[in-house]
């Protein structure tokens, strides 16, 4: 189980336990996959779903729903539940669960409030919808667990992810480039620009490394290749985006700055700056926030190298 997925050992162990419990009881807990983007929430949910067996021993199908497209309770029951879930054996993943509409969240509070019984009848618009938790397993996944209504969260079992180590990210690169041999240093360099994000290394492997090696007719990728590739596709050190580079330049020039000022200078919204850029810059110890935004010594050194 999970042979094709790298890292996340405690999580794998936990999921293995739930899978074996499910084999014994036919009931899978309602799992809530929580973690930063690109850590593999959907992939782990899918791999687990693949291992869940139907009563006849066949593999249970997997239904992945993007919650941002679920606008009304009626849509869920009419377009999803009745044709795909009702009386079927299926595993359902509600991806981007923080986007669930209020009405459906309330419905789920009733549906997923199960004690020992595996059947749950939900009355809605004079109709009864029966959920059978021995036939149907339900997973939820999100990056923003705080935005999921707390009473719903309480009904789910949280499965959270750890960040990937550089070695693990290197392993992911190798798995995705099966025909290429790597110099260990080149793998570390690729891992360093991935921002700790497994999806990002997969993207680098698929969109950059494989095409580069094919173009150059190479089956071995070393540090020199990485330097050339970095230059060709404009990859910044530590995988910084150009906005982050700009933020560092502004802070170096001005000394310190407010979020409003940064927003005005970069043309990015305050929320986007905080959520998508500042978090990473702080994590890499390139800036610090003490009322005002300030560049650190490390940030100053890095920007001096870049400019």
């Amino acid at each position: 189980m999970f042979e094709t997925l790298v890292g996340q050992k405690p999580l794998k162990k936990k999921l293995q336990f739930y899978k074996e419990s499910c084999d014994a009881t036919q009931k899978m807990p309602f799992l809530f996959f929580v973690g930063a983007k690109g850590l593999g929430k959907t992939e782990f949910a899918k791999q687990l779903a693949k291992e869940i067996k139907n009563a006849d021993g066949s593999r249970r199908p997997f239904l992945e729903i993007n919650c941002s497209t679920l606008k009304r309770v009626d849509d869920f029951f009419e377009q999803v539940f009745l044709p795909l879930i009702y009386d079927n054996e299926v595993t359902v993943l509600f991806d981007e669960a923080h986007e669930l509409p209020k009405g459906l969240t309330n419905a789920f509070l009733t549906i997923f409030n199960t004690e020992k019984d595996h059947l749950k009848d939900f009355n809605y618009n004079d109709q009864v919808f029966t959920f059978n938790f021995k036939k149907q397993s339900f997973f939820f996944a999100t990056t923003e667990s705080d935005k999921v209504f707390a009473p719903l969260r309480d009904r789910l079992v949280t499965v959270d992810f750890e960040p990937y180590s550089q070695e693990e990210l290197g392993e992911i690169v190798k798995l995705n480039c099966p025909d290429i041999d790597f110099e260990p240093e080149a793998l570390s360099q690729i891992a360093r620009i991935s921002r700790g994000n497994a999806r990002s290394v997969v993207q680098h492997a698929t969109n950059h490394i494989i095409p580069y090696c094919k173009k150059e007719r190479k089956q071995y990728f070393d540090s020199k290749d990485f330097e050339k590739l970095k230059d060709d596709v404009g990859i910044n050190p530590l995988g910084l985006t150009n906005v982050e580079k700009e933020i560092l330049k502004i802070l170096k020039h001005k000394g310190s700055c407010s979020l409003n000022m940064l927003s005005a200078k970069t043309g990015m919204s305050r929320t986007a700056l905080q959520r998508d850029h500042e978090m990473y810059l702080i994590k890499r110890n390139l800036i610090e926030i003490d009322g005002q935004r300030k560049i650190t010594e490390e940030g100053t050194k890095l920007i001096a190298k870049l400019v």
Binding site: L63, E64, I65, K71, D75, F76, V80
Partner: protein, 90 residues
């Protein structure tokens, strides 16, 4: 008159209240004015002047019930739900 700045007011959470917040002591939305003064400015008997609902009620004058605007409930239209359905080989 300026409020006494030496005495610090605290919010419920114990933090000091920001200066300038809240109503200035003595400030009210209504003021007293004699009917004579008002008459000097109101040429017609049909002139409409806004007065406090509470004052009117205290004077025993019947007040029409305020018009309540009904907010129309917007009915969301059905949208296509995006999903993917995967079957695994046995």
């Amino acid at each position: 008159m300026f409020p006494d700045m030496s005495k610090e007011t605290k919010n419920k959470n114990g933090k000091p209240r920001k200066t300038g917040s809240g109503r200035t002591k003595g400030a009210t939305s209504l003021v007293r004015v004699s009917l004579g003064t008002l008459k000097q400015y109101l040429a017609s008997d049909n002139a409409v002047i806004p007065v406090g609902r509470v004052w009117l009620r205290d004077m025993g004058i019947e007040v029409a019930a305020p018009k309540v605007k009904k907010i129309k409930e917007e009915k969301e239209e059905s949208t296509k739900v995006e999903y993917s359905f995967t079957t695994f080989e046995n």
